[in-house]
């Protein structure tokens, strides 16, 4: 019994919150526990969780990465424009899909390099740098498409987004891989430990011989690469691309990370926390939709839930520290 209580106390508060929310949904939300709906939830989590795993790294450094949504937008329209079977640059060629994916990852990498260098060379706060690159990326994506939607993506590619094993979408396996890799990187490797150190105290880290600048550079690369992967998943799921698809995603990304319990001042927070956070955010979206609640009410409720959830966790942590 004591073991059980200890276990309960040690578990992330947000996980309990998530479980209670699921229970409530089971009773109160019509057609919540249907296979169709569960599959829907799992699909919706994919893009959000992929990009959130990346932004998580930027938050661990006490900053954020606003540019993630426009990396998704830019990579997805460029990728689609290469592989599209009707209008694509490489339409019909056998290497159209791999070339498109490579281009998408490359663009992500480019954003990561620009963000990282700006932060470490000019010592600008990541808020400012990534806000600027966000605007640049969003503008470029709109300029590139002129506001149109690019469709007719190869079926062999969109299968990644639309196919499933039973109720489990293929995309979820892809996301699982990203979660495992980022989690491993943070928990098991030198780089991960350096990221936590620098996020906690860059001065101490520098004097202890940790390459502070290289570490900060790395985390922006991870963030942008994750955003590129999210772009890949997004066009596979939507079977098309437009510059506006990800434009409202940023609030959900930060919500997932902060609800999960990652400290906004840096240095603390696990990828698994962000996984829980992302599921909670999607659950709220889906359940409210099913209940036919209007969007402005959803917005208010989500805000309130974030406030409550985050404050419970912070209260618990400050108590543990005293």
């Amino acid at each position: 019994m004591k073991w059980f209580i200890d276990k309960v106390k040690a578990t992330n508060t947000i996980l309990w919150f998530l479980l209670i929310y699921v229970l409530l949904c089971l009773f109160l939300v019509p057609s919540f526990a249907t296979a169709y709906n569960i599959k829907n939830i799992l699909s919706q989590v994919c893009v959000l969780l992929t990009v959130a795993c990346g932004v998580h790294f930027a938050v661990l450094n006490g900053g954020t990465d606003f540019s993630s949504t426009s990396v998704i937008a830019l990579t997805s329209v460029i990728g689609a424009s290469i592989m599209s079977e009707t209008t694509g640059l490489l339409a019909g060629r056998w290497y159209a899909v791999p070339a498109a994916l490579a281009a998408m990852l490359l663009i992500g990498l480019l954003f990561g390099v620009v963000n990282g260098l700006s932060v470490i060379v000019f010592k600008m706060p990541s808020f400012i740098v990534t806000m600027a690159t966000q605007m640049i990326g969003a503008g470029l994506a709109l300029f590139y498409t002129k506001g149109t939607t690019i469709g007719s993506l190869p079926a062999s590619f969109t299968k990644l987004g639309t196919g499933s094993v039973g109720i489990i979408p293929y995309a979820l396996f892809f996301v699982l891989a990203i979660v495992l890799v980022t989690n491993w990187l943070l928990n098991r490797t030198k780089t991960g430990r350096q990221i936590y150190s620098v996020g906690t105290n860059p001065k101490t880290s520098l004097i202890s011989g940790i390459p502070v600048k290289r570490t900060i550079f790395k985390l922006f690369i991870v963030s942008s690469l994750c955003a590129s992967c999210a772009g890949i998943l997004m066009i596979a799921q939507m079977e098309s691309a437009a510059s506006s698809f990800a434009s409202n995603l940023f609030i959900d990304i930060m919500s997932s990370i902060i609800i999960g319990g990652t400290s906004p001042i840096g240095g603390r927070g696990k990828i698994t926390d962000t996984v829980i956070g992302a599921f909670l955010v999607i659950l709220i979206n889906v359940s409210m939709n099913l209940l036919g609640v209007q969007w402005f009410v959803i917005s208010i409720l989500k805000g309130a839930i974030i406030l409550v959830a985050a404050s419970i966790d912070i209260a618990k942590k400050s108590k543990a520290r005293a």
Binding site: K190, S197, T204, S208, G209, I210, P211, R321
Partner: protein, 508 residues
Amino acid sequence: MTHQREYALELKNITKSFATVRVLTDVSLSLRRGTILGLVGENGAGKSTMMNILGGVLKRDAGEILLDGSPFEPKGPKGAKAAGIAFVHQELNLFSNLSVAENLYITGLPKLGKTGLVNLVRTKRDAKGKLAELGIDNIPPDALIGDLPMGQRQLIEIAKAMISDAEIIIMDEPTTSLSTKEKTNLFRIMHEQIEKGKSIIFISHILEDVFAHSDEIAVLRDGKLIAQKPAAELTRAEVVKMMVGRELSKIYPTVEKSIGEVLFQARDICREGRFKNINLTLRQGEIVGLFGLMGAGRTELLKCLFGVDPVSGGEVLIDGKALERLTPQGCIESGMAFITENRREEGLLITKTVRENTVMASLDELGKRMFGVLDFKKEQAMSDEMVEALKVRTYDANRQVVVSLSGGNQQKVVLSKWVVKKPRVFLLDEPTRGVDVGAKYEIYSIIGDLTRENSAVLMVSSEMEELMGMCDRILVMYNNAITAEFHKGAFDQEKIIVAAIGGQNHEQ
């Protein structure tokens, strides 16, 4: 409130545990009205916990607090203030982006009528008056705290406590960053307050000060009260014995060692607007002290030698070979280590565990495998070894975060971070600041052991006695230059001081 009671404050049978560790057992203290009670004890003896309970920051498990004879239930900093208790904390609690005046009145800034706007003119005028009253009117009330040297900030912190007109003032290590003159000033202020009928609890590691200024002395050890007696009935040796629970025959360990070849050289170190052509040499097994007054450039020199601050010229050589990159990383790879004077901000990851802190400078060694996968077994072994070797008092090195350790134990964690790497050249900046007698001896022994294995140590300290006891050679800095050198056997306190204040005639 009547002022007839003999005791301003009584603590009775206070008990407190953190998790499974008992930090206070049945402690009873009494503060007589109009007197100074000196409270001494090793780091981790429970002094700060005691004061945090009184301030309402922590809840006691058992016991009673009597304020002027009636029961008192502390309810946070505001409650303590309302009850007439003021705290001067060990760690400064000032806003460095605000002015002196604003800091002084931060808890109750005067308002402009009912508008809710701050009356800055009055704030400044009141502050000026108060500073003059306390005899520290050399500090302008509109100076930004961030621009003031540490010693003056400490005086402002003390002035802040005086402003609330508290009956009881609790001072936790108020003198750590004060110069001799500022200290004299502080003690004058303390005695003035006593004459006004106020009562003071004075917590300090510096026994001379405690003996010189306390009416009574209370000694805590391992969370228990060992004695509370009038100062006149105690001797320093007795108090030290009570604090550590054993006789401290020596304050400085004797180490069998020999001084060998030149190990470390700094050649013509320059820094724009700071240093010009500084040269110094350390030999194997040698401990060299660096003495100087605050602002003489000691800390800044160490930071340059370790590559924390950029140099504009000069080089650092180890074994006669110049370092290619004068960065912390390059220095560490060449076997150097550096303990800064500010352990909370530059030495520790304060919210991380003892284990994580212990290995943080050894990540390259732990992450040698493919992809830099960490060797957790080795990490655990390193951490266990250091906790054991340096006697770090922690209930669980894997779980306890260093912020909850006492000052001395925090410093041992900083030391273990470097000792685990067996550094060949060790730069130390005030390694025993805020550390009690027992832990000091342990730290000296650790430094001694390193030199026995042919490492060289460069040690900055403001405590002359410590340098004279530990060092083979003492260098004196004055105005950003090394102006004098003294060898063991020819140490002369007076000459060293003269050199430190810019006297010319004592160079050897």
